[in-house]
């Protein structure tokens, strides 16, 4: 859950919305501003936060926040 809290902070920061609440089910359809520009900012922010690097296949495979977190866990363990 630690990761979820960090993710929520990143989302709030990138989307400039302090009351934004995300869950594992949250996807691009739920957040209006989640366009391709913000998506890249999101990816880069997560990489910096956890000190990891995603490969291009991973970036295109996520359906929601839960997928992202699974991918992050796989990298930091």
């Amino acid at each position: 859950m630690e990761i979820m809290i960090q993710m929520q902070n990143i989302f709030r920061d990138i989307f400039d919305n302090d009351s934004l609440v995300i869950s594992e089910q949250t996807s691009a359809v739920d957040i209006d501003a989640w366009d391709s520009l913000n998506n890249i900012q999101l990816i880069v922010a997560i990489e910096h936060q956890f000190g990891i690097k995603f490969d291009s296949e991973e970036m295109t495979s996520w359906k929601n926040v839960g997928d992202m977190i699974t991918c992050i866990i796989g990298k930091i363990q």
């Binding site: 400039d16 391709s36 900012q41 880069v44 922010a45 970036m59």
Partner: protein, 578 residues
């Protein structure tokens, strides 16, 4: 450097009262990130960009077609980002025998831009990609990508030398500093067309905005230097001249030597150097005079301020002497406390956050690109001398209670001449450069001056000014024409602003009046034609005792020569040929 995220946030700021420039952005890959970074960076520098972004891959069409959106947008600047990546793709797709041709075509296209667009162009040069097809042998064969790419970058520089509208934004140099792995986001590119990483974009944007700033006149002209632990290691007042670290002997002296070498090159480029140090003046000057390893000497420093006043006070003094804006000055000091105080009190001044380790000073300062310029000429070279002399005058002025005592003490002399083969080029140049002290703003070519000289009904008087500190050369010119037997008209009167407030206009008027009387004139007429720049002299004739004419659409000023009393002046005449 601000992050991309911070730059993006800037876009929410209200910039309605700030200058705005129209920028067309053309790229052969996705440009929306670059566009955001450029806009955000411009706001950092106090102006905004109104950006037209062409769909990517439309560069040729937008440029070639005079009816395109690009042309109808009428940009102040066109920024072109053609990537090495796409060029490599073209190269790879081509037949081996056509590969060199690609680079020639690209160069020809870029060469056509200034003519086709007829506006300021900022062109990103090509960061290198070594495709490793030939290994090191790339350097030995013309057909390798790297060989042609480096040649293209070189050719672009040649183009920039000969084309004032064409400016290179040195992306290649940015990649050299930060590395290709930092600049290019391989994984992200695969899904997005983004060729520059978010982390690197602010650096690119900054370099591009530097050029726009420089073209719009935002330039750094002066570098103010602290001494102890900034120019040398140690404290001169405590350690003494033998123990300060400079040169290849003691401690990290080498770092300071190389740092001074850089500063010396800036001085040679025309950046004015000033010293601002908390020290006893004679002790602070000692290394400059006596230390064999010092690169900088007193003759390199335009203004040397070492005392126990606050740095803020001293920097304000330096600014007053140089008479340039704080925003065109940079202050280097190793002491974080001093930096913060100065920053707080003089927010317009640039105060770089020097690294703790002097070994890092240079690479850090290189990365800031503080001294952007869009021109360089010989006129930049003797600037230090001019300002040194001006500093001496200011010093003298402060030692006198009254302006008059100061002026008397300057021992000013002026030579008055009519045009001759020696001074005609300078007369023409002064008429073209003087904007503020120029009563009718008539510009004269050298030919025009010769014609005035040959016309028996015209007179032209040129004045030099010299004082005990130095010779300012030819600084003022008056052109008179005969209106009728009794009346002379001042066609123009202009003067260099370097000699304002010396009472030069009183002296000039005395001379002109006496020359007019000799030629039998009874009255002198002057006219002031306002321009956006010459408000300085709107009351010129009035303050010299002329009276405004009664009937006037035209604003003419009259002076009756028979009742004229010579005006008080501290300048003595060295008669030339009057």
């Amino acid at each position: 450097m601000k992050t991309f995220k911070e730059l993006k946030r800037n876009l929410k700021m209200d910039m309605s009262n700030k200058p705005s420039y129209r920028v067309a952005l053309l790229g052969d890959s996705a440009t929306q990130f670059l566009s955001v970074a450029l806009q955000g960076m411009a706001i950092e520098r106090g102006f905004s960009l109104n950006i037209f972004e062409a769909d990517y891959n439309q560069i040729q069409m937008q440029v070639m077609n005079p009816a395109s959106e690009l042309h109808s947008f009428k940009p102040d600047f066109v920024i072109v980002f053609q990537s090495t990546h796409k060029l490599l793709e073209n190269y790879s797709l081509s037949d081996s025998n056509e590969r060199i041709q690609i680079f020639q075509e690209r160069l020809n296209f870029v060469k056509s831009l200034p003519t086709l667009l007829n506006t300021q162009i900022i062109y990103f040069n090509y960061p290198e990609i070594d495709d490793s097809v030939f290994g090191n042998y790339s350097n030995s064969t013309e057909v390798s990508f790297l060989f042609q790419l480096r040649k293209l970058n070189f050719n672009l520089m040649e183009l920039a030398v000969s084309t004032p509208l064409f400016h290179i934004c040195d992306l290649s140099s940015i990649q050299n500093k930060y590395g290709r792995n930092y600049i290019y986001p391989a994984a992200i590119y695969m899904t997005t067309e983004l060729l520059i990483s978010l982390d690197a974009l602010p650096f690119l944007a900054s370099r591009a905005i530097d050029i726009i700033g420089a073209i719009k006149g935002s330039l750094k002209k002066c570098l103010i230097l602290d001494l102890d632990n900034t120019l040398w290691g140690g404290v001169i007042g405590d350690d003494g001249i033998e123990k300060i670290q400079i040169g290849h002997g003691l401690g990290i002296g080498k770092a300071f030597t190389e740092f001074q070498q850089w500063i010396k090159k800036l001085q040679q480029r025309g950046i004015i150097l000033a010293v601002c140090s908390k020290n006893t003046e004679s002790i602070a000057k000692e290394p400059f005079e006596k230390h064999s390893e010092m690169v900088l000497r007193l003759s390199d420093i335009a203004i040397f301020v070492a005392n126990w006043n606050s740095k803020v006070e001293n920097i304000r003094y330096i600014q007053k002497v140089l008479n340039i804006g704080f925003d065109s000055m940079v202050f280097l000091d190793d002491n974080p406390y001093e930096r913060n105080v100065v920053r707080e009190q003089i927010p317009l001044l640039t105060v770089p956050e020097l690294p703790k380790d002097p070994a890092e000073y240079l690479e850090y300062l290189y990365s800031l690109n503080l001294f952007e310029t869009v021109s360089f000429s010989n006129a930049d070279l003797d600037r230090t001398k001019q300002y040194q002399v001006e500093a001496k005058r200011t010093e003298l002025k402060q030692s006198f209670a009254s302006e008059q005592d100061f002026l008397r003490n300057l021992e000013m002399k002026s030579i008055i001449e009519e045009p001759n083969s020696f001074n005609i080029p300078r007369i023409a140049q002064l008429s073209q450069r003087s904007n503020q002290f120029n009563l009718r703003t008539i510009r004269y070519s050298e030919e025009d001056v010769k014609k005035i000289q040959d016309n028996p009904d015209c007179f032209c008087f040129a004045f030099t000014l010299e004082d005990k500190f130095g010779d300012n050369g030819l600084v003022s010119v008056v052109v008179i024409s005969k209106k009728d037997e009794k009346t002379a008209f001042i066609e123009n009167w202009f003067m260099s602003c370097r000699v304002l407030k010396r009472g030069m206009e009183n002296f000039v008027l005395n001379q002109v009046v006496s020359a007019c009387k000799k030629n039998g004139f009874m009255q002198l007429i002057g006219e002031y034609i306002p321009t956006p720049k010459n408000a300085l002299v709107s009351d010129h004739y009035k303050s010299l005792g002329f009276s405004l004419t009664e009937d006037s659409n035209e604003k003419l000023f009259y002076l009756d020569l028979s009742t004229f009393k010579p005006r008080k002046t501290f300048i003595s005449a060295n008669q030339g040929n009057l």
